[in-house]
Each structure stands twice: as C-alpha cells, then as structure tokens.
Symmetry: C2
Subunit: 435 residues, 2 copies
Amino acid sequence: METINIGILGFGVVGTGVAKLLLDKKTVLESRTGAVLNLKTIADIDTTTDRGIDLGQTRLIDDAGGVIADPDIDIIVETIGGETVAKACIEKAMANGKHVVTANKALLAGHGNGLVKLARKNSVDLAFEASCGGCMPIIKTLRESLVANHIRSMSGILNGTCNYILTKISQDGSEFEAALKNAQDLGFAEAEPSLDIDGHDTAHKLAILNSLAHGMEINLKDIHVEGIRNITPADIKFAREFGYTIKLLAIGKIHDDHVEARVHPTMIPDTNPLSHVDQSMNAIAVDADATGQTMLYGKGAGMMPTASAVLSDIADIARNMIAGTRRRMPILGFLEDHIKEIPILPMEELSTRYYLRFEAQDHPGVLSTISGILGEHHISIKSVHQKGRKNNGRVPVVMITHMANEASVQTALTRIVKTDSVVGNPMVIRIEETA
Amino acid sequence: METINIGILGFGVVGTGVAKLLLDKKTVLESRTGAVLNLKTIADIDTTTDRGIDLGQTRLIDDAGGVIADPDIDIIVETIGGETVAKACIEKAMANGKHVVTANKALLAGHGNGLVKLARKNSVDLAFEASCGGCMPIIKTLRESLVANHIRSMSGILNGTCNYILTKISQDGSEFEAALKNAQDLGFAEAEPSLDIDGHDTAHKLAILNSLAHGMEINLKDIHVEGIRNITPADIKFAREFGYTIKLLAIGKIHDDHVEARVHPTMIPDTNPLSHVDQSMNAIAVDADATGQTMLYGKGAGMMPTASAVLSDIADIARNMIAGTRRRMPILGFLEDHIKEIPILPMEELSTRYYLRFEAQDHPGVLSTISGILGEHHISIKSVHQKGRKNNGRVPVVMITHMANEASVQTALTRIVKTDSVVGNPMVIRIEETA
C-alpha cells in the first residue's frame, strides 16, 4: 500500500483533531482510501503542552519551515489560522509542490483568488471542505453533487455562536448580553466574540460558497454584513406571533447579471426547514433547478466535526495520488478560465420584505404619520400590530411590509425618526419567504 | 476539450431527465468537468413517443444492444429498471469495458455484490448516487465526506410516497386508504403501490447504505421490513400527544459484531429533525463519531432530482477519464478485499421501546391483565393512557414501554390477544428516542 506523508501546521484545536483522526483511524482510512496516511510531522510553537494524544512515530517540531521544506511530505494541513503566517506557509508549501488542505475561511475569503492561481501555477491541489459549515459537506455538494444544476439560491445558518444565542433568546427570553455570556460560559462563544456575532465569520463562508455555486471569483468586500447584537426578545416574540423565526442567515442568490450576497438577521417562516435548526447547529439550504430545495444539517464547528471535513479533503488528495493524478477537481468548481467576475448587488438596490418595529408615542396620528411616510416611498404595509403598552407611555408598533426597495426603506426610516412620533431607531429585520 | 460519449438505456422518466440535463446543461457541464459530455445514443423500445426534448445529434434507437456494443461509448446509464433486462445490460456493458451509472436500487440491493465483483473484473466503475435518496448526496457523503468516521447509526425517511401518506393522515386525519388514493391522484404513489407502502423500496436503499456505512456486503434478505398500511389517524394523534411523530424509517446501526437493519413505522420525538420532514420530502440522519449528528434533506424521487444525482456520477467518471484514471473510489466505499460479511441482528433479538395500542373491553381488571402479562415477560411500562370511549363499549388503551426485547413483546402480545380483555390485534410501533 502506498504511503502518503502528511504534515500539520498548527497544533491547536483543529490540528489536534486532525492528528487524532489520522492516528486513531489509521486502519479504516487504509481500507477506505487504499493508502497509508502517515502523519509524519506536526509543527507548533508550543511543543510542550499535552494534547492528550500518543504521537507515536509522529514528530512534533517548533518550526513550520521544517515541515514545508521536507521533501517527503506530500500534503500540508494548515490549521494555524489568521491571514499572515498561514498565508505565507501555504504559499511556500505550494511553491514546494505540496498539496494544501486548510479550514481557514478568513484567509480564503480574503485571499482565495490569489491562492487558487498559485495552486494552478504550482500544479497542486488546494482543498477547504472544513472552511464552510464544519462537517456538512457543502463544498463537495456544490462542486460535485450539484454539478448539473443551476444553483438559484443558498441560505445558510453558518455560525453556531449566533445560532446558539438566538435560540437562547428565543427559548427563555434572555437579553442578548445575557445570552452571549451564557454562550461564552458554555464554550459556544469566544471571549472576543465580534468575528462571530457581528456576522463576519458568516460572510467569509458566504464569499467562498457564492464562488463555488455561481462560478464567480471570491468576493468578500461587497457582501453586506450585519450581526445579531440588536436582536431583542421582543422581536423574536413578535416574529413568532407572525409565524416566523429569526436566524442569522447567509443569503446568496443569482440573478441575470448579478448576485445577491448578504448576511443579516432574517425572519423566515416556520415552514422553512432552517427555522427548526436550533442551538449551535448549522444548516444550509440550497435551491437548484434540477434538485429543487435541499438542505444539509450538522455541526458547523468544533474539534472533531472540523477535523472530519479536513480528513475528507486529505482522502480526496490521497485517492488522486494513488490514481497517479492531481488537480482532478477545479478548486472553485469551475475551470479557472471559466470563472467570471459577477457583481454583487449593492444593498440599496435590494428588494425584499421587511419587519419594522417602532417605539411609538402613544398619541393619535402616529400610525398615520408612519404609514404616510412609508407610502410616499412606495412601501406598502401588509400588516400592522400595535402591541401592549409600556410604562413610559410608548407602544411598540410592528409592521410587515410587502416587497420594498432597501434604499427607500432606509430613507423613509430616516424621515420617520425625525418626526415626534417615534423614539429611538426602529428595528429593521428583512424577511425571506422562501429558503 | 476531451469528448466523453454517453449512452442511455431506457427513455422513461429518469432517462428523459438525464437526457435533458446532458443536453440543456452542456455548457455548464463543460465548465465544471472540463469534458464534453456527449449524449450519443438513447435506446428504448418506444422510439416514437414525444418526450419533449430536441435530441439534436443524439440518436434514439430501439436496441439496447446497439448502445452496449458501440465502441465509442464510454459510459452507459441504465434507467430501464427491474432486475432482469437491466441486469443483463449492465453485465454486458461492463464486459465491453464500459462504466455504468444506474439508479436501480432493487437491482443493487438484490445483485449488487455480484455487480461490484464484475466491475472489478472488468476494471470499470459502477456508480449509483441516484439509487438512494434521489438528489440527496448520501452515497458521496458516506463514501467520501465521512471517510474518517465510524458511522454509528443512520435513520432515513427514504420513500416519498410513504412520507406523503403519513403527512396527509397526520394533517387532516385521513384514513390510510383515502390518503393513498390522494397520493395516487397527485402522482406521489404508483397505481400498484405495494413496493413503496410495504417498505420494500426503503429496504432496498437501506441494504445499499448499510454496506457503504459499515463496510459490509449488501444484504437485503435479512432486513426486517414493515410498511405503513396499518397506521391509523388515531395512532398519529396519540403519538402527537406523547410528543412523537410517526415516520417510516430505515434504521441501520452498528454494534460490536452485528448491525441492526430494519424498516418499519417508527415513533420519533419532535426534537428529532427528521420529525419535521413532511410531504414527499426525504431525509437521512447519520450519527458518526467525529461529526456527531448530521442530516441531508431533499427530494428523494422525481425526474429531475434523480437525474441530478445520475449527472453527479457521470461527472465523477468523466473527471476520472480526463485524469487518465478509473476506479478511483472503491464502489462500496471500502477496498473490496476489506469488505466484511457482518450479520444483521435477527429481529427477535432487538431491544427497543414500544408504543402499544389495544382495543380493550371496558370492564374492570383489563389493565391488570394486560400489564400482568407484559410484566411476566419483563416488559415494563413507562406510561399508560386510556383514551375516550368508543360506541361499541371498547376503549383504546395506549402504552409506552421502557426498553424491551422484541421476542418478549411479540410473545406477550400473542398471550394478551388470547384473553377476553382485548379485541383484535394490538398496534405495535417501535420508538427511536434518538435519530
């Protein structure tokens, strides 16, 4: 049986998971791939902490360069994270003719196009199943299973931290800060949580998935991103009364000459299977012309789910090597010369439905003022609910609009805020009727 | 760009879908695979019916042999169905050195081991993503994405006809016969529906999936199969009151030296994501050691979803051909010499929980008789509900048991039926607490 030598850069959570699987699953991996997947070397600046693994013959060194330069090593697994050292290591590894497997979504979202070109130049593979959706095989599904489909749209719950927090607020009425604290206590959120809760991690994944789905260059900078900091228990309660659930969604849709790509809290109907995806679970719904609606569901993060996805990439490359081939699959799902630059729709041109919540003064004419301004901007209201009465004499007024233009909504809201009818900024949550 | 010639045997629903995709998606398939996928010939005894496709350069002939013998054709797509002609055609195609793609689950479940050996002998590929779960990429997921996982269990809703009927009974209280009639009227059930509603179609799929998940030979004959004919609105209503939904599940679990493989109506808790899979949709939940719980969801049948899966197989083979390789992936997910014969647990040795519904005579001592006999067989009762009162003086008695042995339950029920406490046969539905 052919031996394939693997080096891991970064012996943190994901690196440890990958090492565990390579060592613990040696026999089954041989039976499934026909190759001996030999974990030759791991590099990490910390060579002393006990990770709870018996490394056996595997060397642990403190110098990534020693792994990258090792002529015996065929596949480099980058689990360093970040965009500086990781990028340099990957570039060097490719230059040395090594295939690269990474879970680094920030790096791919920011520098993926360049890395794809570099992989081509060096005739190596670059694989990243673990970068989007943890153990859900969304990369493989888009690139291989849906090969004959026109992928019309994707909606994903791609960040377990946000989904945990929204579930918590929904289930026990916690305020955001308390739910975040709870998530941190349980290890579902980082001490510095902004990458997750402000939506950036989700946007990184959407940038990658849009590229694979639509045959376009990776484009992070034009994705509209909003996080979940402003979501209140009241909004979740109102949403439920209307038959909706609030999720942080990554939305990617293709139109004739542009794509929609946006990340924001979204109200989805209870008939949408994504509405049942709770706690820290992830899911992605894909609507394609031949398959119709499909969905993948699973853990989007964590040591072993992420490592499982890394191993699927390693096995793919190993199978290529045994077959005497490389670069069997186009990295972004389309031949590189066929990848287009498709513009992302500017957010102000978006057309969708809106949930609007105002803190309105409780005096006559308020509803008329608000609806009058909305009407002047061609925003028509599907339903209005005036709920309860606050101690301070203000009442929440909740509206659901018909399809409306984003710029018009924003302009109208700016005008409404300036009247004496409402207090503070209104809450705006976009609605997706279909997944 | 290299041209790969494809022949389709059978121009029925699936064959037509495959032809549509090959012809309509020619450009995108070239961009995604780097090959020209040329549909050279279709064979069907009916060469005159208009299938609504402009075949262009593709020939439609009435002789499958003409396709199988054509030295230009690289890949044969078998969409004839059945186990006689289809089998002979596939065997001949393999003998002629052609790769074979099929959606024929009955054939694979019954004769798959032999076909796998024949593919090996002739050094060709045999691909069947469309055989299980329609457009859900469950074959690829088990074989590739979960490569480093020990797959502990699978539970699948794999038959859209049954799921539609159960949903219908659940939503409007229809009796089974009426729900079946409705499904037939809408095209969700065949005129002769027994293959679907008696669970055999689901068992075919489970036989294939068990093999891929557990590295075992395909074994259909030892799978316990029950269909949904006996499910009543009352059972679905009682289930709901206990927090359960009734689904026809394919269940495959591995234990130390055997697997469980069974198809029957199953009560699952509302917290199980499968419980939200309604209408004719399919889903399969997989519990594996690295990933934890994952689920795929999508259309399990229909022209285009099935054709989409066939196309993913064609693309895989095409990519191998361009890469100058073949048989890159072991057909059953494990090297053929590593595939084991793992016995399926005889049903009478199963241990699970049970829902039991008796039509009990409404006189004193009935409950004591029933529970006494159950107790003598070491079946302990978790809860009992005596619901309503029928006109004829009988009352339904519903029980949920703790874990119990199947043989003991059946023996106890045989004894209970012989008493004068109950009328007719009790309803038995097995419960799965986890997916």
